[in-house]
Structure formats: structure tokens, C-alpha cells
């Protein structure tokens, strides 16, 4: 029979809490229609409480109530420090998005309720991915993550671009889900289980010392299918095609969310899949990850150079960041088993994901704030003279852009620092990858700074209207900025995030 004990409740508390919050939002909207502010209070308040609870309850080293990792449902779901770190990140993403989203949606006549509900549903999916140790759960959680995402992309349903982005995202997403699913079933059929630990055990007994060579073709095919599906979700080249179109079309807050939420969750999936399940054959998938990382960051940056649409540019930039994160994974893959470098690679992935979430979301929050007045396009030219029109907003944008560029001592710098050092620690080809990473970072500086050029070095357009910020947006921006700065500059915060990444990486190994 089912036995639910306190630990199960505690372990499931974060995703369940967010799911309930999503339902609560729906209910509140039905009970008191049109009360936007109330919804925001409910959403943000609920998330804040949950974050606090997770911080207190989560298995944080030293302060957590749970001792170590907590497995539930026969090991299908685990609440370990990786889960906690990703839960916190995802909830923070949701919180920030709900803060700065409504100010953009309201003037466009778009309701907050569905937006918040979809967002929370999606985040629930992401959080479930973070703790999933079962392929089936992984798949369902993934669907729970992306389906609301498709809807959010088409949220501005009267906007042709929004729906266009949504349908592209949806079609390709479903396509990749089907591919992923086939891979899942092949794995299931061969190993006879969907439990990741069992799959891992099965695979590792199969491979022995020969690596993939000794794997049956069906499992290899399954691996290829799974990799394709996962690579699609993180938008790695050449599976990235949906990204620019979906990002450009979506309402700006949604774009912000899409650029971080699904990405962090998809990396969680990759960690669970490639590290947990397929860690024993990492020698075989590592070359692909190395190539994916190199191609992804290079293509993302090169194409971003010539974009004139800020959202599209940031879309390509997010592709490039995927490439950087993959460097961490590649470092894990290329490092000798059991070495410090192995763990370091994973830490890099996690740290990068956290840092990236804050800075990229912050940048989108600025874009959204700028576009609060309907009719303001996403052309980079709208940033002209922002330094004079809205000095604070411009300064924040500069901050986020510098962080994205990787200028110390902001969060983005530490993130890059982490992946580069992870790659260097491994050495060999990874050194070249590290060099490629920094060259890419330099090239990326061009288009990030281009925004700064518009903001500070060009005059505002004639009669450009003043930029007004909503209170919630202010709060959201402030939080993102604090995150971006604190992770980089405030030693206790930096150390805490590093420690969390460390313990999360240990949990994976």
C-alpha cells in the first residue's frame, strides 16, 4: 500500500507547493476575476514562502532539516541538494517573471491569471525534472514543463508573431518529444526499467571496460534519440532552430522566462540523464557534447552579431550561453572518472545555470519594462538614448549586459570563470574549447556592447516618450540586479552558491 510519511511530504513539498499555487491562481481568478494585483500577490507571496521553506527545509549543507538525499516512490523522485538548488533557481525565475510580467501584459489587455498559472505549471514541471530519477517521470515532467511554454509563447494570441512563434515552438517541441520518447522506450525495452539508477546499473554492467562498443545498437539508437530530444530543449545547435523565432514572437516576459526556465530545467534533465543514467558511458557521448558546445556557442554568437531585434539577439545569445554551459558538461565528460575535475565540470554547469538565470532574466525584464507602452518594438533602436531617458533602467541593462559578457566581478564572470576552469582542469582538447569559449566571449561583447552603444552613445529618437516603470517591475529588476551583483561580488553569497553547486554535484556523482 501507499505509505506517505513526513519525509515524502517534505521531499515533494516544493513541486507540490508550486502546483498547488498554480491551481490556487486559477481558483482565485475564477473567484475574483480580474484582480491582477491579488494574483501577483498570491503568486509572488506563495513563491517567496516556498523559497523560504526550501531554504530552511532543503538539504542544504548545515542548515537543512533533511539529512542527505531523500528518495521517494521507490527512487523515482529524489530530493537531494541538486534538486534543491534547481528548485530554488526555478522558483526564483518564476517569482521574477511574475513580478515583471504583468506590467507588460496589462497594457496589452492580456490577463495575468493564465500567465501566472501557466508559468507555475511549467515551473512545477521543471522542478519535477530536477528531482526525477525515473525516465517516465522525466518525460511527463518535461511535457508539463513545455506544454504551458507553448501556450505562453502564443500568449499574445492576437499578435501574429506570438502565435507564429508558438506554433513553431509547439510543432518542433512535439517532434522532439516524440523522438525523445522513442529513445526512452527503446531504453525501457532493453533494460526493462525506467528507473534511472537501474538503467545506469544495467548500462554499466553492459559496458564493462569497453565503453559503448559493447552496447547493443538499440540502446545506442536510444541514446541518439534521447540526446536529440534533450539537445532540442536546451537549444543546442543544430537543434536550436525554434529558439530565435519563439523568443522573438513571444511576449517579452515570456521570452525572458523561456530563455531561462526551460533551459535550466532541460539542463537538469541532461544532468539526470547523461550523468545519472549514462555516466558510465560518458567517454562515448563526450565527443558529441564537445562538438555541440563548440558549434553552439560559435553559431549563437556569430548570428547574434548581426541581429537588430533585441529579443532575437538575446535568443541567439542564449544559444551561445547553452554552448558555454555545455563546456562544463564536456569537462565532466572528459575528466577521468572520480577525479576532482569531474565534479568541477558539473559544478560549472550548475553555477552557470544559476548565474545565467538572474542576468538573462534581468536583461529581459529591462526589455519588457521598456516595452511596457504597447507599440514599442523590439528593434535595438528603441534603446537609443535610454541612458538619458531612463538612466536607472539603462544602468541596470548595462549591468546585465556586462554580466552576460562576463565582465568581472559580476555573476556572469564567475559563471564563465567556472566553465573555463573546469575545461582547463581537464586539459587536452578541452583547453582548446576553453580558448574557443573566451574568443566567443570576446565576440559576444560586440553585440552586448552594441546595446550599450545605443543606450549611451546615441541620441534618443525625436519625441521618444518617457519610460515609466511599474512598481512590480522595479522590484523584479531590483531582485535580478541584486542576484547578478551578489553572486559575483558579495563573498558570502558567492561562496554559498559555490557550496550549493558543489554539494549538488556531489549528489549527482
Amino acid at each position: 500500500m501507499i505509505s506517505i510519511d513526513a519525509n515524502t511530504i517534505l521531499a515533494l513539498l516544493p513541486p507540490a507547493g508550486v502546483a498547488l499555487l498554480a491551481l490556487l491562481v486559477v481558483v482565485v481568478d475564477i473567484a475574483w476575476p480580474g484582480r491582477d494585483r491579488l494574483l501577483v500577490v498570491v503568486g509572488v507571496g506563495g513563491l517567496a514562502i516556498l523559497i523560504a521553506v526550501v531554504v530552511i527545509v532543503g538539504p542544504l549543507p548545515g542548515i537543512g532539516l533533511l539529512a542527505g538525499a531523500q528518495e521517494v516512490f521507490g527512487g523515482a523522485y529524489v530530493a537531494d541538494s541538486l534538486t534543491v538548488l534547481l528548485d530554488l533557481t526555478l522558483m526564483a525565475i518564476a517569482l521574477l517573471t511574475i513580478l515583471f510580467g504583468p506590467d507588460y501584459l496589462r497594457p496589452r489587455g492580456l490577463p495575468t491569471a493564465e500567465f501566472a498559472a501557466m508559468l507555475l505549471f511549467a515551473i512545477t514541471g521543471g522542478m519535477l525534472i530536477a528531482g526525477a530519477r525515473d525516465l517516465l517521470l522525466l518525460f511527463l515532467a518535461l511535457e508539463l514543463l513545455v506544454l504551458p511554454g507553448y501556450l505562453l509563447a502564443g500568449y499574445a494570441k492576437r499578435d501574429g508573431l506570438s502565435t507564429e512563434g508558438a506554433i513553431k515552438y509547439f510543432l518542433l517541441g512535439s517532434f522532439s518529444s516524440a523522438i525523445f520518447l522513442f529513445g526512452l522506450v527503446l531504453t525501457f525495452g532493453y533494460t526493462g526499467t525506467t528507473n534511472i539508477r537501474e538503467v545506469a546499473a544495467s548500462v554499466s554492467t553492459l559496458v564493462g571496460t569497453n565503453g559503448l562498443t559493447s552496447l547493443p545498437p538499440a540502446l545506442l539508437m536510444g541514446l541518439a534519440l534521447l540526446t536529440t530530444g534533450a539537445a532540442f530543449k536546451i537549444a543546442a545547435v543544430p537543434f536550436h532552430y525554434w529558439t530565435p523565432d519563439a523568443y522573438q514572437g513571444s511576449p517579452t516576459p515570456v521570452t525572458g522566462y523561456l530563455s531561462v526556465g526551460p533551459k535550466v530545467a532541460a539542463f537538469a534533465l541532461i544532468l539526470r540523464l547523461f550523468v545519472d543514467a549514462l555516466g558510465s558511458v560518458k567517454a562515448d557521448w563526450t565527443p558529441f557534447i564537445v562538438i555541440l558546445a563548440a558549434v553552439t556557442m560559435t553559431l549563437g554568437n556569430l548570428v547574434a552579431l548581426s541581429q537588430d531585434n533585441i529579443k532575437r539577439m538575446l535568443a541567439y545569445s542564449s544559444i551561445a550561453h547553452t554552448g558555454y554551459i555545455l563546456v562544463g558538461l564536456a569537462a565532466f565528460g572528459a575528466a577521468p572518472v572520480g577525479s576532482a575535475a569531474e565534479q568541477n565540470g558539473l559544478q560549472a554547469v550548475l553555477f552557470y545555470s544559476v548565474a545565467y538565470s538572474f542576468m538573462n532574466l534581468g536583461a529581459f525584464a529591462v526589455v519588457a519594462a521598456l516595452q511596457r507602452r504597447p507599440g514599442v518594438t523590439s528593434q535595438i533602436a528603441t534603446f537609443a538614448g535610454l541612458g538619458r531617458r531612463a538612466p536607472l533602467l539603462a544602468a541596470l541593462m548595462l549591468l546585465f549586459l556586462l554580466s552576460l559578457t562576463g565582465i568581472p566581478p559580476l555573476a556572469g564572470f564567475w559563471a564563465k570563470w567556472y566553465v573555463i576552469q573546469a575545461a582547463l582542469q581537464v586539459g587536452g582538447w578541452l583547453t582548446l574549447l576553453a580558448v574557443l569559449t573566451v574568443l566567443n566571449a570576446a565576440a559576444a561583447a560586440f553585440y552586448y556592447l552594441r546595446i550599450a552603444v545605443y543606450m549611451y552613445m546615441r541620441d534618443p529618437a525625436e519625441g521618444a516618450p518617457p519610460v515609466t516603470l511599474g512598481g512590480q517591475t522595479r522590484l523584479g529588476l531590483a531582485l535580478a540586479a541584486i542576484g547578478t551583483i551578489a553572486i559575483g561580488l558579495i563573498p558570502p553569497v558567492t561562496i554559498a552558491v559555490i557550496a550549493m553547486a558543489q554539494s549538488a554535484a556531489q549528489a549527482l556523482l
Binding site: I167, K168, L171, L172, F175, S176, I179, G211, L212, T213, L215, P217, L220, M221, L223, A224, L225, T227, T228, A231, F232, P238, F239, Y241, W242, P244, D245, D284, F288, L299, N301, L302, V303, A304, L305, S306, Q307, A443, F446
Partner: protein
């Protein structure tokens, strides 16, 4: 209490203070801008004379002279350079020339610059020059000397370009500095070579430590350095001297330097600064005597410059340019003397030349002043009656430079020529005699065209021609005294079979050099070889003078004179053309440095913009265009995207299933 060292420091401090004060407040003194500066120099002169007395007459510092250190200038580890000064007899002799002519020029300038609004600047610069020049002669190590060397170059630059709104002046100033820098290039390397070899730059061994002049020959003797290295060092150092003293091929700046005010030409470009090279080579004689090839080179350059410059002086029409080429020629003599080992003679000529050439320049200034800033001798003539004092003093100086006894030039020039002959440099002597003829000729050509013959002065100006004010004529007269007597005093000993005064003074300095060169100090034989050489020398000058007077003579000959000149000119047409065009050195320089150099510079700039920067921008552009190319794959069609995904899947699957698994 010992005043020796403070006194020497005072020699530097006074002109420097004069410079500083005049620069700061001179402008407010208006007409009296000269007050500070001239008084400082007068005091300096007095101090200098005391020092000279102590050194030469009271013999207070012994043979080695006075050496002391003010402070450590460059304590760069092993490269330890003190700010140290020295006064010995060579310095003292130079002090006489520098301070005396300097003082007289200062006084002269009061009148000469009376109508120029920039006079405060002028006096400030003059004081700066005096400071630099005194530092140059007082410096006791190579680097300090080099610093002073550059500073006199700076003063020269400032004073040549004094009338800055004249383009020619500005260009001449620039040219002077840059050509000097060419010489200094070698000089600096030479100094670096010296330090690298012996680890110090102090001239002589003193209580403070060993000096180059002792260490370097020792190094050669001990085989630590090869003879060619010694020659190399000497030649590099000599390059500096060539620049400063305007020896071929670095002579081109000096004639142009005449763009400066005439007192400047007199002081800097005739009497003092241009002699710095001579002084330096004499000072560095222990190095040169160890490098015989370098000595020959010095002699050759010197005598070649002498004849080259004299040939150009034949045809110049600008009075100051004639004097400038004459200066070049006389400097050539000095270097010839240095090259043949006649150090004392070279310094002797330096002294006498300083006086009579200073006088000539100041005189020419007076003439120019009289004819309203006209420098073209073709627009002068028959002025001797109008400006008698100027004429008289200049005539004395001309006789002196022509080498007619018993004026100063005769003694010094003939000592150089005689020593050349006796030391085995007959070719130097032979060319020297030719130059002596030429000197007499061009000097009296100058006198003739300016003071004698028919008047070509602008009729409007003619009535106003008058003698210069007393501040100008008095210095002329004062300079005429040493022009007449210096030779006799310093070198007259030859007639009495004694060691001359100058030899007594400088003996200790050059003694060692003579020994090294193996020159026996034979007594002067008035009735023997020396007398013959003396007569030949004097005769050469006289021939030149006579021929010149026949051509440009005293009397008003009208058309007859022109016919004579034309006849000779036509007969020597190629030489004449070459002389008029100064052997095309300016054109050559223009070609090499302005045209070719400019083309090279422009080519390099093109290279910089197109190739170096082009590569940088090219990489950026390539990156951009690659990005633009790649973005084409984002077609907007979902089907294309899906195909991309499928392709990715296929590649991966094929690799896994067929490559890795096999």
C-alpha cells in the same frame, strides 16, 4: 673656507637663474628685458675669470684639475651616473672663450635686439644657452656632457627659430635639431659602448673612482676589447662631434642656421657651440689616440669639410652664409688638427677662431643692421666710409682668418698645418694650404663686395645707413683686441724659441696623447722646417687675399670688375655651378629624407591602416559576415528546422550505431 666648488656651481647657477627669471618676468620688463640676463652673464664672466685665474695662473688645482660631485644623477643600479663637474686647463681655456664672447654678444644684443618685441625671449634663450654651454665644458662624465650637448642643441633650436613666423627660420631650426640628433644617435651609442666596456662614464680617474680615460686604454692593453672595438667607440663618439660641429656630411644645418638673429650666429654658430665637437674630441683624446684609424678618419673628414665649405663660400651672396661656410671650413681645420694629433693646435685655433669669427659675425650684424636687414652682398658695397668702426674691426678679423701674420689666425692655423706636415699627414697639409688660399680669397671677396667697390645699396636706404649704436660697436672693438693679440700671446712663443703659453697650459692634458702617438716634442725650429712651413702658410693666405682684392678690390672699377669676374666664372662654369648650388647637398637631403623618407613613411602608414589594422578589421568583418551567412539557415520554415533536427539526429545515430559500435 673653500670657494672653488661653489664658484664653479655659480657658473651654472647664474645663467640658469637668468634664464628662469627672464622667462618668468622678462616680458614685463619690456625694453629692459636684457637687464637680468646681461647682468647675470657679466657676473658669470667675472666668476669665470676668477676660476680661469685659479686654474691657469695660480695653478690651484694642479695638473689634474678640480673634480667634484654635486649629487647622484642616475643611480640605476650599476649604471651609476653622478652630476659631477670638473675644471682643468682645457675647461679653463674654453671658459675664457665662452664667457668672454658670450658676455660681449649679450651686450651687443642689447642694441641689436632693441626693436624686437620678443627680446625677453631672446635674452632668456641666450642665458639658457650660456648655462648649457658652461655645463658642457664643465661636465665630468659622458652622460652629463651628452645632456649639455643636447641642451645647447635646444638653445640653438630656439634661437635659430627665434623669428618663428618666418617659415625658413622654423625649418632651419628644425633641421638643425634633427641633424644634430643624427650625430647624437652615434654619440649615445658610443657612450653606451663605453659604459658597457668599462662600467663607468666618468672622464678621468679621481678620488671618487676610476675614469674612462684610464680604464679604456687599459682594457685595450689587457686585450679585454679588440682594437676594432676601440675604433668603433671612437667613431661613434665622433659622430656626435660631427653633428654638433657640422662636419661633412652633417654640415647642412649650419648655413641654414643663419636664419637666427646675428648675435646668435656669432655666439652659437661660430664661436662656441659648434666648437663643442672639437672640445669633445680633444677631451676624449685618450680614446682617440688608441684608435689610429679613427684619427685618420677625423683628419680626413675635417680637411674634406674644410675644402668643401671653402669652395661653397666662394659664390654665396648672403653675407652670413659666407661666414657660415667659412666657419665650417675653419672647423674642418680644427678636426684636421685633432686627427693628426695636434690637439693643442686645434684648441688654439678654436680660441682664435672664436674671437675673429665672433667678431666677423657681429660685424656682419652691424652691416646688416646698417643696410636695414639686408643680407645680400650684391646689394651692398662701398660701405667702409659709412660704418668705419665696423669696417675696421671686420678688416682686422678678415686678415686674421686669412692667416696673415701676426694676427691670431696665422699662429693657430699654421700650427695645425705645420703639425700635420710634421706628423706625417702631408696630404692634410697640402689640402690645408689650398684651403688657406681659398680662405683668403673668399674672405676678401666678402670684404670687397661689402665695403669696397661700387655701392649697390638700395638708394632709398643709402641715406639712412649709419654706424651701429655703442652697445654694438664696443663689443666689436673689444673683440678686435684678442683677434689681434691672442695669437701672439698664446702662440708667440715660437718666435722666442719657448714653449708657447697655450702649450704650457694644455700640456698636461695632451701629454699622454702625444706620448701614445709617439710624437717627439721637438723644439720649434724657426730657421728650419717650421719656418718654411710658416712662410708657405702665410704666403698662401696672402695669395688668396691678393687675388681677391684684384677681383673685388678696393677701387671703384665699374664694368671692368664685372668682366673679370665673368671671365673667371665662365672658365670654371661647372665648379661655379656646383659651388652656387652647395654641391647639391640640400637637394640630396631633400631627396633622401623628404621625398624617399616621406614616401616610406606614407607607405608604412598605408601598411598600418590597410594591412595591420586591415587584418584586425578584416577579422571583425569576417566574423560579422560569417554570422550574416549563417543566419540564412534560419529560414522561418518549421519544416526546414525539423529537417535540421532530423539531420542532426541522423548524424548522431549513424555515428553511434555504425562508427562507435563497430
Amino acid at each position: 673656507m673653500n670657494f672653488d666648488e661653489p664658484r664653479v656651481v655659480l657658473l651654472l647657477a647664474l645663467p640658469l637663474a637668468g634664464f628662469g627669471l627672464t622667462a618668468l618676468v622678462g616680458r614685463r620688463l619690456h625694453q629692459r628685458a636684457w637687464v637680468i640676463s646681461v647682468s647675470m652673464i657679466v657676473v658669470t664672466w667675472v666668476v669665470a675669470m676668477v676660476t680661469v685665474y685659479q686654474t691657469l695662473f695660480a695653478h690651484a688645482y694642479g695638473d689634474g684639475g678640480l673634480h667634484f660631485t654635486l649629487y647622484t644623477w642616475v643611480p640605476a643600479g650599476n649604471f651609476h651616473i653622478d652630476f659631477n663637474l670638473a675644471v682643468d686647463s682645457l675647461t679653463a681655456v674654453l671658459l675664457i672663450v665662452v664667457t668672454t664672447i658670450g658676455m660681449l654678444v649679450h651686450v651687443y644684443s642689447i642694441g641689436y635686439m632693441a626693436h624686437d618685441n620678443g627680446r625677453w625671449r631672446f635674452f632668456a634663450y641666450l642665458n639658457l644657452f650660456m648655462f648649457s654651454m658652461l655645463l658642457l665644458v664643465l661636465a665630468d662624465n659622458f652622460m652629463l656632457l651628452f645632456a649639455a650637448w643636447e641642451l645647447v642643441g635646444l638653445s640653438s633650436y630656439l634661437l635659430i627659430g627665434f623669428w618663428y613666423n618666418r617659415k625658413s627660420a622654423a625649418l632651419a631650426a628644425k633641421k638643425a635639431f634633427i641633424v644634430n640628433r643624427v650625430g647624437d644617435f652615434g654619440f649615445a651609442l658610443g657612450i653606451a659602448a663605453v659604459w658597457t666596456t668599462v662600467g663607468t662614464l666618468n672622464f678621468t680617474t679621481t678620488d671618487a673612482g676610476p675614469g674612462v680615460f684610464q680604464l679604456l686604454p687599459a682594457a685595450l692593453q689587457s686585450g679585454q676589447i679588440a682594437p676594432w672595438m676601440m675604433t668603433g667607440i671612437a667613431l661613434l663618439l665622433f659622430m656626435g662631434a660631427m653633428g654638433k660641429s657640422a662636419q661633412f656630411p652633417l654640415h647642412v644645418w649650419l648655413p641654414d642656421a643663419m636664419e637666427g638673429p646675428t648675435p646668435v650666429s656669432a655666439l652659437i654658430h661660430a664661436a662656441t657651440m659648434v666648437n663643442a665637437g672639437v672640445y669633445f674630441v680633444a677631451r676624449a683624446n685618450p680614446i682617440f689616440v688608441q684608435a689610429p684609424q679613427a684619427m685618420v678618419f677625423v683628419a680626413a673628414i675635417g680637411i674634406f669639410t674644410a675644402i668643401l665649405a671653402a669652395s661653397i663660400a666662394f659664390t654665396q651672396k648672403d653675407i652670413k652664409r659666407v661666414l657660415a661656410y667659412s666657419t665650417l671650413s675653419q672647423l674642418g681645420y680644427m678636426f684636421a688638427g685633432l686627427g693628426v694629433g695636434a690637439y693643442t693646435a686645434a684648441i688654439f685655433h678654436l680660441i682664435t677662431h672664436g674671437f675673429f669669427k665672433g667678431l666677423l659675425f657681429l660685424g656682419s650684424g652691424s652691416v646688416i643692421h646698417a643696410v636695414h636687414e639686408e643680407q645680400d652682398m650684391n646689394k651692398m658695397g662701398a660701405l667702409w666710409r659709412k660704418i668705419p668702426i665696423t669696417h675696421a674691426t671686420m678688416l682686422i678679423a678678415s686678415i686674421a682668418i686669412a692667416g696673415i701674420p701676426p694676427l691670431a689666425g696665422f699662429f693657430s692655423k699654421d700650427e695645425i698645418l705645420g703639425e700635420s706636415f710634421k706628423n706625417g699627414f702631408v696630404w692634410v697639409w697640402a689640402i690645408g694650404i689650398v684651403v688657406a688660399v681659398m680662405t683668403g680669397f673668399y674672405m676678401f671677396r666678402l670684404m670687397g663686395k661689402t665695403f669696397y667697390g661700387e655701392s649697390h645699396v638700395d638708394p632709398h636706404v643709402l641715406p639712412n645707413v649709419h654706424e651701429s649704436p655703442r652697445t654694438m660697436t664696443v663689443p666689436l672693438l673689444l673683440l678686435a683686441i684678442p683677434t689681434v693679440l691672442a695669437g701672439l700671446y698664446l702662440g708667440g712663443g715660437i718666435f722666442f724659441g719657448q714653449e708657447t703659453v697655450l702649450h704650457q697650459w694644455l700640456g698636461p692634458i695632451f701629454e699622454h696623447a702625444s706620448e701614445t702617438l709617439g710624437l717627439h716634442d721637438a723644439p720649434f725650429e724657426l730657421a728650419g722646417i717650421d719656418g718654411i712651413l710658416l712662410i708657405i702658410g702665410a704666403a698662401a693666405g696672402a695669395i688668396g687675399v691678393a687675388f681677391s682684392l684684384w677681383l673685388f678690390g678696393l677701387l671703384d672699377l665699374g664694368g671692368e670688375r664685372r668682366n673679370r669676374i665673368e671671365a673667371i666664372t665662365n672658365r670654371l662654369r661647372p665648379l661655379y655651378t656646383a659651388s652656387v648650388n652647395k654641391w647639391w647637398f640640400d637637394e640630396l637631403n631633400d631627396l633622401i629624407f623628404v621625398r624617399i623618407g616621406g614616401a616610406v613613411a606614407r607607405a608604412l602608414w598605408w601598411f598600418d591602416v590597410r594591412v595591420v589594422d586591415g587584418t584586425v578589421n578584416g577579422i571583425a568583418a569576417l566574423t560579422q559576415s560569417t554570422g550574416r551567412g549563417i543566419r540564412q539557415i534560419q529560414t522561418g520554415h518549421v519544416q526546414n528546422y525539423a529537417l535540421g533536427i532530423a539531420a542532426g539526429l541522423l548524424v548522431m545515430a549513424v555515428t553511434y550505431v555504425f562508427v562507435i559500435a563497430r
